[in-house]
């Protein structure tokens, strides 16, 4: 299938700003799905609210655009309601980590086979540029006119500690790797988290003198290092697969439980 076969072309062009990284993620995601060869009818996409969450509308899967922060909770029900389906959950950094933080760690703990794609642009894009729990310290945002004092989360660390069995990070510059990681995440039989550093030129860029989308991609290019190859310098972006372990998947475990319980009966 062509890439555009996965799009609902009638709703394109999408609403994202020129140069918005979310488009690159969409682009990579579609290619990953194509490579795996998933049937469109077998894919459910569940998103929350945010610029990132608008992705669902443009993709020709079964798509659910839900509530800010709650995508993983809806996704948990959707998957458990029909474990045969592949469930992909694109999320913004605010969506996943601010209001949605609890569902994020609990989804990781359960290890249900969902693929969470965290589109981390370090900002609340949709609402116009407030800082998020992923905004680094001393950055500017409309609600941090004097610079942020909050420490950001390390998505990889939080996901790992909470129990995700596949955890990876990349950037919108590294598109080939990105496609590969998304593919791996989807194929991984358990809860996968792929953090993607992506650019919001309109708000994060403008407020933090990162300049244009092009400049922001260059920044990703220049500051990324493969896992373990880093010097530990501040601002360094470690990319690659951090965790990949096959552990019992939630729906499978439930199925076994059902078999066991029914064992006595049937």
């Amino acid at each position: 299938m062509a890439v555009t076969d996965y799009l609902r072309e009638q709703f394109m062009p999408h609403i994202w700003c020129p140069g918005c990284g979310h488009g690159i993620v969409l682009n990579s995601l579609v290619r990953a799905v194509e490579q795996i060869g998933l049937e469109k009818n077998d894919v459910v996409m569940v998103s929350g609210i945010g610029c990132s969450a608008r992705m669902a509308g443009y993709l020709d899967f079964h798509t659910m655009h839900t509530l800010h922060g709650r995508a993983l909770a809806f996704a948990t029900g959707a998957k458990m309601g029909n474990p045969r389906l592949k469930v992909i959950v694109p999320m913004g950094d605010g969506d996943a980590l601010a209001i949605g933080g609890n569902h994020f760690i609990h989804a990781a703990r359960r290890n249900m086979d969902l693929t969470a794609i965290v589109m981390n642009n370090n900002i609340y894009g949709m609402t116009g540029g407030q800082f998020s729990p992923a905004t680094p310290k001393n950055r500017y945002a409309t609600t941090a006119p004097y610079g942020t004092i909050d420490e950001p989360f390390d998505v990889v660390k939080v996901a790992t500690a909470a129990g995700a069995s596949f955890v990876a990070r990349s950037t919108t510059y590294h598109v080939n790797e990105l496609i590969k990681l998304i593919r791996e995440g989807i194929e991984h039989p358990g809860f996968s988290v792929i953090e993607i550093l992506d650019q919001c030129p309109t708000y994060y860029g403008r407020k933090n003198l990162s300049g244009s989308a092009v400049d922001m991609l260059k920044h990703f290019k220049e500051n990324s290092v493969k896992i373990g190859k880093g010097t530990g310098a501040p601002g360094e972006i470690e990319i690659g697969v951090f965790v990949k372990e096959v552990r019992p998947e939630y729906c499978d475990k439930y199925e076994s439980l059902v078999k066991e319980v029914q064992g006595g009966k049937k």
Binding site: I15, C17, C51, R54, M126
Partner: protein, 189 residues
């Protein structure tokens, strides 16, 4: 006396900022009542953006503009979307570089190459909204260009004041260059 404006353009052209400056000029420095509202929407980031401004010598209740005395369109997209709001007898001002496709109807039309003027003067179209304010102030009696100058001086960083004042004058001149006669037909008193 009451004038109703719709200023429209594409996100980034600064139509909304122009509306806000216009309102502030009249309300803060012009001893008039002014109300400004705008259309938001996720699309506002990319697509057509619009602001409604009403200035009046008496209190303004309904703050939106249904029948604009002046409709300004800085882009084709905005023109296409909002031209249906133009009123018989009203005035439509458009940027003649950006808006190519215009239809003649029963409203007055004024096309001015603000884009071109800005490019040739500043080598940038950033100032097109201020230039447009100059145009408006020359056409609408109620708008005193001096009040807009005061807002510019108060709102902008020192480094940007001068260039904005020049853009304003540029707009004023664009109108003046049309000649007394033509302008008098357009003028709103």
């Amino acid at each position: 006396m009451k004038y109703k404006f719709i200023l429209s353009g594409t996100g980034g052209q600064g139509a909304i900022t122009a509306g806000l400056l216009l309102g502030e000029a009249t309300a803060t420095y012009g001893n008039l009542f002014a109300v400004q509202t705008q259309s938001y929407g996720p699309e506002a980031r990319g697509g057509a953006a619009r602001t409604d401004v009403i200035i009046s010598s008496s209190k303004i209740h309904y703050p939106k503009v249904m029948y604009p005395d002046v409709l300004v369109c800085l882009s084709q997209e905005a023109y296409n979307k909002y031209i249906k709001m133009a009123t018989p007898g009203g005035l439509v001002i458009y940027d003649s570089h950006n808006v190519k496709n215009v239809k003649i109807k029963d409203y007055k039309m004024l096309g001015l190459d603000m884009f071109g003027a800005c490019m040739s003067e500043f080598n940038s179209v950033q100032m097109i909204n201020i230039c447009m304010l100059g145009v408006l102030s020359e056409i609408v009696e109620l708008i005193d260009p001096e009040t807009i100058r005061m807002v510019i001086r108060n709102r902008f960083k020192p480094s940007l004041i001068d260039i904005n004042l020049r853009a304003l004058d540029m707009g004023i001149n664009l109108v003046r260059e049309l000649g007394e006669e033509k302008v008098s037909k357009l003028k709103l008193q």
